[in-house]
Symmetry: C2
Subunit: 342 residues, 2 copies
Amino acid sequence: MTEFMGVRDAVRWVSMRGIEPIVTELVEYLEQDFRRWGEFDKAPRVAKYTPLGAIELMPTCDAEFYAFKYVNGHPSNPARGFQTVVAFGVLANVHNGYPVFMAEMTLLTALRTAATSAMAAGALARPDSRVLALIGAGSQSEFQALAMRAIVGIDTVMIYDRDQDAAEKCARNLKPMGLHVTVASSAAEACAHADIVTTCTADKSVSAVLTDNDVRPGVHINAIGGDCPGKTELDPAILDRGPVFVEFPPQTRIEGEIQAKPADFPVTELWKVLSGLAPGRTDPDQVTIFDSVGFAIEDFSVLRYARDQARGTDYARPIDLIAEPEDPKDLFGLIHVLSPVK
Amino acid sequence: MTEFMGVRDAVRWVSMRGIEPIVTELVEYLEQDFRRWGEFDKAPRVAKYTPLGAIELMPTCDAEFYAFKYVNGHPSNPARGFQTVVAFGVLANVHNGYPVFMAEMTLLTALRTAATSAMAAGALARPDSRVLALIGAGSQSEFQALAMRAIVGIDTVMIYDRDQDAAEKCARNLKPMGLHVTVASSAAEACAHADIVTTCTADKSVSAVLTDNDVRPGVHINAIGGDCPGKTELDPAILDRGPVFVEFPPQTRIEGEIQAKPADFPVTELWKVLSGLAPGRTDPDQVTIFDSVGFAIEDFSVLRYARDQARGTDYARPIDLIAEPEDPKDLFGLIHVLSPVK
């Protein structure tokens, strides 16, 4: 039977364990998987773009497991009372093709995105980073802040969102967590003393939520909101300020901030930095940029982690997703025909 | 909430309704969707091939719904006590990206494959067809036979499988359904008086389960087992005997029987026949060949049908696949933090 971790299960698990302990362990899974990058079958996600948004399937596999995530992105959703991004995912056994674990992935995606951001910042930001600027205070924002504390040690968060209610919501959620939290009135103000800047806005447009002037020397920029064609967050001039790190170049060139740049714009793959094969930050005054679009291997890692976490607990339960007739050639035998037809 | 039709639900539904009434209605859904072929976003399936088999995602969408199916194909599975093919699928709302219906699709795939075969045979076989030869007596075989009776009116089934137990199993299942059933000792014997020949073997190899000699004039061939690169069932000479009909040429040229032929081998798209835009059979003595590999729109149709069938019944139940926080920007608010950290 496939094990299923639904929303209620995931909420209970995260509430019991806490976001920071989970992110800390999840970063270990992510680092394991990024360091064996070559073992994965990689392909750009399969996206369908519609007038209101995108629906994507993100598959990957290694020699043992196959994983995919279903995820949408509909920027107009919150105004209509829906989540911008909802997601679920499946981990399957490569040897027989059977799905072994299915999970809601709205929460798991927020956790894996935050953990990936924090892992990258741990490798690229100045070790003495203490102040995080959050540009965009939507669903991802609190997860980003707590992950940056767990992995990098930030203690202060400056929040800017053009939706003042969202900024206040984020501040209200983070203050009880023991962080110094301030709502700023502009991106420039939020960034004035920032060591790390995370852009996580949801606008489906080419915008510059961060201008070149906002970025002071030595900052690490964690750009996670520019993640589909026609959706970027950074003034392209920022991309010339320092080295740009990416997950999987063929995907990032289509979906990331560097879509604003020529196809040969130089980038460094994050897995190479984590494996010691490429330099990360080389100077405290350098600007480093993680142009993150989210990649299937990150979903693989979080599914693998969540499955390990759920095993032997009640955070997941069996679901009858797969028919298992006694004789595998006798699928028809499952049908209890009530009376012979003619 | 997403509605979920699990294996127990699907078995109960099919047992209560019966395979033939379901296939008859499903063919109406399939015909509706094939006749508006141009409205669908189509792409070849996304497949990962591993030493033991393939795992595939098959997405498609129209202006209202997005559907995908997860499906494997592992020919060595039955020998290890697993199903060759297991599958599940999801129907989502294009406007907000939310999945609305999830279903097991091992049974649903058998139903949609049988219904598609029967729909094609209804358009291409001689109207007086009464004898079906089944080459391959695995999971799909009984569904194929009953669908051919429901749509085309066959009354006699000749079964051949090199696995004698499988052939006997198929005969045992079909006899109580009121069909004249005979187990043949060779493909040639099974085909000797056949009007329709369905090949549904699972061997992952280039084989010729049907030779040119086995095919008498006027036969309609329904080739469904050759469905991935390196896996074909027909003697390539058969493909020169009459017009070849396919679902989606770019996919069939990679996966179907015509992979044995040059890239410009002429084929007719089945949807054009169903829409009256291309001729089907033009002569009672003609051999017609449906080179079927299974296409995403067929899964779309069966998911749409199963959802309509389950609505207002207990054949599906809500599943908490998608987080729905009260404030869509406050995903974090779902987490009931037990105590402030640090």
